[in-house]
């Protein structure tokens, strides 16, 4: 991958993540038992970035996505929620990905990401409300996170297998 190709690829991934996030925000939550739980489809992009780019470049995708989503109709508090969730889940996913493709699949990586995203958001929520009992909400959210993590993992797996360019980038990443 040349430097320009990589730059364009990072920008493409970031913009796709922003669009997916914005569309998802306008869909009402399908989980009546867990208000605030989202499907987290923007995670597809983060997972693909981790599998096709170096950790530093994948971090750039996540950072760009965070700032752009905040600028496009977010507030400081939604930025704090999404930032803590996204940063925590990115760190977790990078670590799990380091286990190697023979040990852990994309599904494992995306489930970790979805779970840590919830942990980060609940930590910020309990910090804002000054009570730790918000964390009692975690089991319900984890159930949703495992389901959506599997969905995101399967989707990302199909994309990385059948989209030729992504498959090639993944091959480059694994061989380097």
């Amino acid at each position: 991958m040349t430097k320009n190709q990589r730059l364009v690829y990072i920008a493409l991934l970031a913009s796709q993540a922003v669009i997916i996030g914005l569309i998802e925000r306008s869909i009402p939550s399908p989980f009546a038992i867990a208000p605030g739980a989202k499907l987290g489809f923007a995670n597809i992009i983060t997972v693909m970035a981790i599998y096709t780019l170096s950790t530093a470049d994948a971090g750039k995708v996540v950072g760009t996505r965070l700032v752009l989503t905040a600028l496009l109709g977010g507030t400081i508090s939604t930025f704090m929620y999404s930032a803590s969730g996204a940063i925590l889940s990115f760190i977790g996913m990078s670590i799990v990905h380091k286990l190697g493709p023979s040990r852990v699949s994309i599904i494992g990586v995306s489930i970790t990401g979805a779970f840590l995203h919830n942990v980060g958001q609940l930590l910020i929520a309990s910090w804002i409300a000054q009570t730790w009992s918000i964390l009692l909400y975690l089991p319900v959210l984890t159930f949703v996170a495992i389901l959506s993590g599997i969905a995101v993992g399967v989707a990302a797996n199909y994309l990385l297998t059948y989209v030729e360019k992504l498959h090639y980038y993944k091959y480059l990443r694994e061989s380097s």
Binding site: P35, G108, F115, A125, T131, L135, A145
Partner: protein, 136 residues
């Protein structure tokens, strides 16, 4: 390509690990509540913006009562006290988490409205005093 075949060995370690971790806060909270004695007086502490507004004694309360606390911005006349339970019965916030929480009555339980930054928490008034007496 079957979905089931996508899973690898470590996935089956990660999923139970995550489920166990998600119950960690519940375990810690139950453990903490074990130290509160059963006959202590319970109070509902209403706070807005991290500032304590009102303490409502719950133990021994009987009947249905609607409290008028103007500092709670969720709705007018929204805090309902029924016997030894308390709840927020209506709110104009978008997620309605506080209303869906329903009645709370045991120490450590909370009603949280992030939108209006309202927290109602049940506290045991003299739960820790008893432990000290025991240690003399």
């Amino acid at each position: 390509m079957k979905v089931f075949h996508m899973f690898k060995f470590w996935d089956w370690i990660i999923i139970p690990l995550i489920i166990l971790l998600s119950f960690l806060p519940s375990v810690v909270f139950t453990y903490q509540q074990g130290s509160v004695s059963a006959d202590s007086n319970l109070e509902a502490v209403v706070s807005v913006d991290n500032e304590e507004i009102e303490r409502i004694p719950l133990t021994g309360h009987e009947g249905n009562e609607i409290l008028d606390i103007p500092e709670v911005p969720c709705d007018t006349n929204t805090v309902q006290l029924q016997d030894e339970q308390i709840r927020i019965q209506s709110s104009d916030c978008p997620d309605q988490v506080c209303v869906l929480t329903g009645f709370i009555s045991t120490p450590g339980e909370t009603i949280v409205c992030l939108h209006h930054r309202v927290v109602i928490e049940i506290e045991a008034e003299d739960g820790h005093v008893e432990n000290e007496i025991l240690s003399y």
